[in-house]
Symmetry: C4
Subunit: 257 residues, 4 copies
């Protein structure tokens, strides 16, 4: 394998498809959101993306079966609307600069192949807040951005760069005459963040005019919250102990002087 | 040299060959096991693999002769069984991500060229145990995995990834319609571990239905054990000295306060 | 995108054009100088350079629009003189060695395409001085260097190497029968340094025989100076506090002994 | 520039040429030795090697002229002997693994082009001795190695690997049916080591049956020796001061307890 390539499993007939992309990144926001959509919509897998720029290991299932790292494309036939969906997620981002550009280009090749006119990429946006995560939007054109703002996304106040595939797809899409929108959920980014993913999905579904029950994420959110709480307790205990040790040492020094 | 290539030394006529792969890795398990088999079976060298992704130095023999880092393919004609063997080992793994994918692909090119239907890769699996090393198996299909389990391998309880060529070959084999099985011997991984290699060979030989005397490894195992014991003594002495120094310093501090 | 490429926006008719190159580097001297020239001359953008060797993120404007990192070519029609100008600046340098050579080569392709006979590259030169920054020159031939010296540039006393695109263009230009001159403004290099950029522009404009009002840089210089002053105060306060802590500790030790 | 390439300056007519290679490496032994030979033999430059795998800067002369990093080929017509010489040295080694293999291959392309049957590479061999540096030899065949041993080289007692171009050329030469010998001068490797270079040249000249006055290196050796002496004094003074500080602190602690 010398280059990133896509292997089609079945041929899909799609009506004005919109592509959704969400690879692992900050807080796993893109991956959690995209996987949830795939599951809820019962989207059908129809192609894999393989790349020599992914890390050089293979995954082993609990049953002992093995597979390469990969990305996967799913489609969903929208019975009630104008746009079918192509959803893309995967195990990893590319590990080199040139690999990042190559994989983003290959995803857009596939979008073009299916005559996609709009790609929406999903990711995380690092902030230190504990409020309900806001959703930051950026786009290749103003109309598209306005659609996101009407769906309650906001513009990044700082204009910070978007790193990785979710960003590069927006940078490369105009060369293919494809519009692209990026939705980033605010996240502290340390741990998988289903709350940020839910925020992004709320905006995304409004934009798409698609109904998906998001309550299934609440269990994951509860788990993540309790994980955060546990880690905080550990952290606080550690800080207390460090504090005590410092005080003990201060006593000795005070004795001395 | 711009790409990995294979140089055939002689043409072999092989009957339903199975390929065994074992490059250096954790505890050198793959290399020790494969080299032992080659030696015991008096397998014949018939091809080299060279790559610009190996480290950029050459090896010097005790007699002052020089050679590139390389992999080597050996074959063994199985007089009593159905499957001849191709055995592959070498000096090093690839040093870059893309090189890892390239070398694994080239090995599979060679397997295809000889109409190999099954590749078995060997490596180490990191654990902190001192018990007799178990053998962890993973495979590209269930039948194959069952064969390994019947030969007393076990499934990885954690489903941890398999890094390097031993893993990537399993990931890439299905694209060539080749089955592949990976056998990993439990090892602490710091030092060459012939004990883990022996455990893997016991499982491998059962699977292959081939008889090889493994007692020749026992001398290496004894050497490795005494090396480990020596290192532990050094480690313990160091810990004791550090302890003493700490106690001396504690005395001073106690005096002070 | 597998390779660096240039996308022309409009076709320009240029008369004996000289190319000026200034990418971000030490003290951002090259970029500040080139951007200022572009603005003052109202030069017209006519081509972009894109590369998979730039960092793998995209820039987001305050309005939420997105673009790839890129370089940009501008031209200026010189009504009063013999030479039109092509000005090149951009967001970033290449991130890999091979990328650096590739981008510099691509810039020279474009120069050749427009029949450029002279390229002048701009950058920073690290020194620890606070005097008015001098301008160090290096060139592919003696005549060219003499022109720079008559314009009050000086030769580097140390003969230190020139790193990055500003250097490689000089190294590669002779293969295209293009002359090239490099002008480096002395800078401490930590912060954007418009003062160094102004020094370079004074020399450059003399060489080109072009008049551009440089007073517009003075405001930026004032800002940068006050930034430096502020950072110095912070630094001094930190040093004082550290000093005090040390003295406090010394007292204790003196008590003890 | 996408690949390493060689630019011929003049066409040489050479009689059974032997190629000598010496790039910068441990103690600069290879470069010092080869440059000295070139100077003493008044060898004539006839080709350059350029590569995008060299570092991405350019060199500036004291006069302000600029050039790419490069390698250079020289030839010497041997009036009294059977073999003319091609001598190769340069500014740098390749910066990446793949670049190392590419540059070594390109040097051998050039050797083949001139029908070279023997390449001798020169480098340093790290030891901590202060004795007269010995010369370690390794070769692609036994005859060649014997020639070196008769010229008072020795075989490496440890069989340690040879890193970089001096090694890879030996590894790659057999693919071209070229014999290759490597001569490594013992050096501590920290500083330019003309003494090691002289040792290598003594062996080399015996092998070649060529007379070159090596006394010109003695001045450089004297300079290097005094540099080493100076650095040692600095080092010793530092050690003394550190010792004193430790003793002062010990006193305080003794007081306390």
């Amino acid at each position: 394998m010398k280059e990133t390539f896509i292997k089609e499993l079945v041929k899909a007939e799609l009506k004005n498809p919109i592509m959704i992309e969400g690879l692992p990144g900050l807080g796993l926001v893109g991956k959690i959101a995209t996987r949830y959509l795939i599951k809820q919509l019962k989207a059908q897998k129809f192609a894999y993306l393989y790349s020599p720029h992914f890390p050089y290991f293979v995954l082993v299932s609990k049953k002992g079966s093995v597979r390469l790292l990969r990305g996967a494309f799913y489609f969903w036939k929208n019975e009630k609307g104008e746009n079918d969906l192509i959803l893309f997620t995967g195990d990893s981002q590319a590990q080199t600069i040139e690999g990042q550009y190559e994989i983003s280009s290959r995803i857009l090749d596939f979008a073009q192949h299916y005559n996609v006119k709009l790609v929406i990429t999903i990711g995380g946006y690092r902030v230190e807040t504990k409020d309900k995560p806001k959703v930051v939007a950026a786009a290749t054109n103003q109309n598209l951005l306005d659609r996101a703002l009407r769906a309650e996304a906001m513009i990044s106040p700082m204009g910070s760069p978007i790193v990785g595939t979710a960003g590069l797809i927006l940078g490369l899409a105009p060369f293919r005459k494809i519009d692209a929108l990026c939705l980033l959920g605010e996240t502290r980014g340390y741990l998988p963040d289903p709350k940020a993913a839910k925020s992004v999905l709320e905006v995304l579904l409004k934009i798409l005019g698609v109904n998906v029950d998001l309550s299934g994420l609440d269990e994951e959110i509860a788990k993540a919250d309790s994980m955060v709480a546990r880690l905080q307790k550990i952290e606080e205990r550690r800080a207390l102990q460090a504090e005590e040790i410092r005080r003990e040492e201060d006593k000795k020094i005070t004795y001395i002087s």
